[in-house]
Amino acid sequence: MTIDSVRGAPDTPELAEPELVQLLTPEGERVEHPDYPLDLSAEEVRDLYRDLVNVRRLDLESVALTRQGELGLWASLLGQEAAQIGSGRALSENDMVFPTYREHGVAWCRGVDQLKLLSMFRGVTHGGWDPAEHNFHLYTVVIGSQTLHATGYAMGVQRDGVLGTPSAAATIAYFGDGATSQGDVNESFVFASVFNAPIVFFCQNNQWAISEPLERQSRIPLYRRAQGYGFPGIRVDGNDVFACLAVTRKALENARTGQGPTLIEAFTYRMGAHTTTDDPTRYRLKAEEEAWKLKDPIERVKAYLVRNEFADAAFFQKIEDEAKQTARELREGCLSMPDPKPLSAFEHVYAEPHPLMTEEQEQFAAYLASFEEEAR
C-alpha cells in the first residue's frame, strides 16, 4: 500500500512531462514554439556552447579549490548552466542584474572576472566587484532579499521615465525555488505587480531548497503563482539554452516597453550539492540524478551542433582546451590572491566620510602601528 501524501493537491506537477517552453530537446532536436520564434546563426550557437562549457569548467575548478582548502565555500551551478547562460545572454547592456550567490554563469555573461567571484568565497573581500561597472549587483547570500532590491531598482528606472525609449533598462532578479517561500519574494511580487515595475523574476527551480524538495515548497507549479499576483508567469525548460534565451528576451523586452513584470520559472536541476558543505546523498535518490543527467544542458547543444554540421571535432577540442586553460588561470589567480589589508575593512562601509567610523579607523591604525613602535 502506498500513502499519497499529496492527495488533494491541484494539478501536482509531473516530473516526467511538465508543461514548459522547449526549443531544443534533450536529444538536440530543434522544435518550434509559436510564441517564441528564435533564429540563431551557427556562430551564435557555437558561442553559447563555448559559454556553457567554460562556466561548467570554472565551476568544477572552484569546487575542487574548495575541497583543497583554498575557498571557504562554493555554491555549484552544475546542471543550471543553460538557465544562466540563456537568460544572461538575453540581457542588454543597460539591464540590471540582481543575482543570488549561484549566478556564476550570469556573471560570466556580464563580463565579471570569475576571480572576483572567488575572492568573496575565499573571504578576501566582502563583495569583489563594482556593481555599476557590469550592471551586476553583488551576490546576495540572504535568501530572496535581492528581489526587493531589484523591484525597488526597477521602480526607480520606471520613475526615470525611460521605459519605451532606446535607453530603457529592464531589471532581472534571480532566485531559487526555495526563495519562493520567503516573505521578501512575495512582497516584491506584490510591489512589482501593483506598480507595473519593469522587472523579470527569473526563478531557477532546481527542485531542491537545500534538502527540501519542491513538493514541500508549492502545491502548484511555481510559474502559476504569478497569476495570483496579477502578472504573467511562464515555465521554460531550464536545461534548454535556446528556450531560456528566447523566453527571457521576450520578458525583458516587455519590461523595457512598460508592459510590466514577468515570472519565469526555469525548470532545471541542481546536479551537485547545495553548497560544498552539503551532502545530497542524505536526502535524495540517485535514480533522480540519473534521470536528469539525460537532460544535460550542454550535451543537447553539442548534439545540435553535430547534427547540423555547425561544428567539427576540432571546434569541440578547441573549446575544451580553452576551458582547461581558463580553469588553470583561475586556479593560479586564486592561489596568488593577496590577503586583504586589515584597514581595508573600513572601505566601502559608507559612501561618504562618517565621523564615528573615521575615529574607529584611526584607533585601529594606531593599534597596528604600535607593533612597530614597540620594537624600537
Binding site: G69, T277, T281, L285, F371
Partner: protein, 461 residues
C-alpha cells in the same frame, strides 16, 4: 634522513565544511608511487557533515600517505605528500600517532602591512587563517611585535614535514615492493611482476637491472603431469573447521527442519531498500532481510539463542541476551564464520554495513580472532552455491543455525491461484537438548512468515 631529490609538497587536511575540526579517512584512491594530476580524486573523507572526495591540489608522484584509512585526522594535519619531480624515494609510512599532531602547514613570511601576532616564544611566523584551515592554537596568544622591515632576520625556513629520524631498512610494509616510478612503469610495460623480484638497490628497492634480469631469466619449468592423487595438509581453517564440525556433530544432538517460503515480497523489499539514500553505500541483499528476520525471531524466542554448559554442579543452559550473529562465508582458505557483534542493537543500514564489512574482511583473510569468536547463532547462505537446502551443522557453543537456500522462480499457489513466485527453502538445525521441536518449528515459522511478508518484521519488532 632521506635526502629527496626534491621537496615534496604536503597537502594538509582542509576544512571542507565551514568550521569542522576533524575528519575520518574513509578510503584512499591512490598509493605511494602513483602519479597524480591536479584535481584527481585522492581520498574520501567523512566529516560530521558529509562524505567528501578530496581532489589533489598538486601534480606529481605520491611519496607518502601520512594517515591510514579509518583514522580520524585534525584539520590542518598533513595527509599526503606529492613530489612534483617524481624523483624522491617514497617516505616510510608515518606512525599513526602523528595523525593527531597539530598542523604543520608551511609558514609564511609576514609582510610589513601584516603585523604578525604570535606567542612570545615563537620565532616570527604567521599562519593564514582566512580560508580553510581554521585558527592555530598559537594565534590566540597575541602580542604586538615588530614587523619585519626588511632588516629582520628571515623567518625559519618552511618545514612542512617532520620526518622520522632514520629511514627504515625494510621496504615499507604496505604490500608494495619498493621501486622508483620509472622502474615501475618499465616493469609494467614489460609485463614483469615487481612482487616476484628481490631488489638489489638501496633498502631492497628494485632497480632497472633487476627488472631486466627478471625478464631474461628462464621461464619456470613446464608444468609436469601431476600424480593421480594429491595430499593436502590439513591445517589452518580446514583443520579448525574439521575439529569444530566433528565436535559439534557428536556432542550436540542435531535436528533439522525445513520450510519452503514464497519470498517475492522480500525481493521487492530488497529492491525498494536499495533505492533509499540510507542504503546508497551498502549492499542490500536478501541475506540482510534473512538476518533481520532471524534477529526478530530470536527476540521472540530467546531460548534458541543459548548454549549448553556442563558445569561442576551439573549442566546449565546459558540464554544470551545479546546476539552475536555468525555469517558463514566461503573463502579461499575455507569456511569462516565472522560474527556481527551485538547485532540486536543495529538498525538495518548498520546491519547491512556490518555484514558487508565482515564478510569482506573474512574473504580478504583479514578477519581477526575477535571477529570469529563468541557467536551465539549462525546463518549459512548455501543459496550462493546454487543449492536449495542443506542440513547445517551447529557451530560449537551455539544451539541453532539457519540455512538459506537459493531463490528460484517456482510454480506456487498464491492467493488461490497458480502463479510463478520467488521461492526459497529455509532449514534450521538446532540442539535438541535445549530446543524442542515445538520451539525450533516456531522459530523457523517466524522467520518464514517474516520473509513471506516483511511487514511482519515491523509488527514483531
Amino acid at each position: 634522513m632521506v635526502t629527496p631529490v626534491s621537496q615534496p609538497k604536503v597537502f594538509n587536511l582542509p576544512d571542507v565544511g565551514e568550521g569542522l575540526t576533524e575528519a575520518e579517512i574513509v578510503k584512499w584512491h591512490v598509493q605511494v608511487g602513483d602519479t597524480v594530476e591536479i584535481n584527481q580524486t585522492i581520498v574520501e573523507i567523512e566529516t560530521a557533515k558529509a562524505i567528501v572526495e578530496l581532489p589533489c591540489p598538486f601534480e606529481g608522484v605520491v611519496t607518502a600517505l601520512h594517515v591510514t584509512e579509518g583514522q580520524t585526522v585534525d584539520v590542518g594535519a598533513p595527509i599526503i605528500s606529492v613530489d612534483a619531480e617524481g624523483g624522491a624515494a617514497p617516505e616510510p609510512a608515518r606512525p599513526a600517532e602523528s595523525a593527531r599532531a597539530p598542523a604543520r602547514d608551511a609558514e609564511r613570511v609576514p609582510t610589513p602591512d601584516e603585523p604578525g601576532m604570535v606567542s612570545p616564544e615563537q620565532p616570527p611566523k604567521r599562519t593564514p587563517v582566512l580560508v580553510g584551515y581554521g585558527v592555530k592554537e598559537a594565534a590566540t596568544k597575541r602580542r604586538p611585535r615588530k614587523a619585519s622591515n626588511g632588516t629582520a632576520p628571515p623567518p625559519a625556513p618552511a618545514a612542512p614535514v617532520v620526518r622520522p629520524p632514520a629511514p627504515r631498512p625494510q621496504p615499507v610494509d604496505n604490500g608494495l615492493p619498493l621501486a622508483k616510478p620509472p622502474v615501475r612503469k618499465m616493469a609494467k610495460d614489460l609485463g614483469v611482476d615487481l612482487a616476484a623480484i628481490t631488489g638489489s638497490g638501496p633498502q631492497g628497492s628494485i632497480t632497472r637491472d633487476d627488472v631486466q634480469a627478471a625478464l631474461s631469466a628462464p621461464s619456470a619449468p613446464a608444468v609436469q603431469a601431476g600424480p593421480r592423487e594429491e595430499r593436502v595438509p590439513v591445517k589452518g581453517v580446514r583443520k579448525a573447521t574439521a575439529a569444530a564440525m566433528t565436535g559439534s556433530a557428536f556432542t550436540a544432538p542435531h535436528v533439522t527442519e525445513f520450510l519452503q517460503v514464497d519470498v517475492t515480497r522480500t525481493m521487492e523489499t530488497v529492491r525498494r531498500l536499495r533505492e533509499l539514500p540510507e542504503f546508497a553505500d551498502v549492499k542490500v541483499s536478501p541475506l540482510l532481510l534473512v538476518a533481520r528476520a532471524l534477529l526478530t525471531a530470536v527476540a521472540r524466542n530467546p531460548m534458541v539463542n543459548s548454549s549448553w554448559a556442563d558445569g561442576p554442579d551439573g549442566a546449565e543452559i546459558v540464554v544470551k541476551r545479546y546476539v552475536n550473529l555468525g555469517i558463514a562465508a566461503a573463502t579461499e582458505r575455507g569456511l569462516i564464520v565472522p560474527k556481527v557483534k551485538d547485532a540486536q542493537d543495529l538498525d538495518l543500514p548498520g546491519l547491512a554495513r556490518a555484514l558487508g564489512e565482515l564478510t569482506e574482511k573474512a574473504r580478504a583473510g583479514r578477519a581477526t580472532p575477535a571477529d570469529l569468536s563468541d557467536g551465539t547463532i549462525t546463518i549459512t547462505n548455501v543459496g550462493v552455491f546454487g543449492v536449495d537446502s542443506g542440513t547445517p551443522i551447529l557451530t560449537p557453543g551455539e544451539s541453532a543455525i539457519l540455512a538459506f537456500g537459493q531463490i528460484r522462480d517456482m510454480p506456487w499457489v498464491h492467493e488461490g491461484e497458480l502463479a510463478i513466485r520467488k521461492v526459497t527453502t529455509l532449514s534450521l538445525s538446532f540442539d535438541h537438548r535445549i530446543v524442542d521441536g515445538e520451539l525450533g518449528s516456531k522459530v523457523l515459522r517466524d522467520v518464514g512468515a517474516m520473509l513471506e511478508d516483511p511487514i511482519r518484521m515491523l509488527a514483531w519488532s
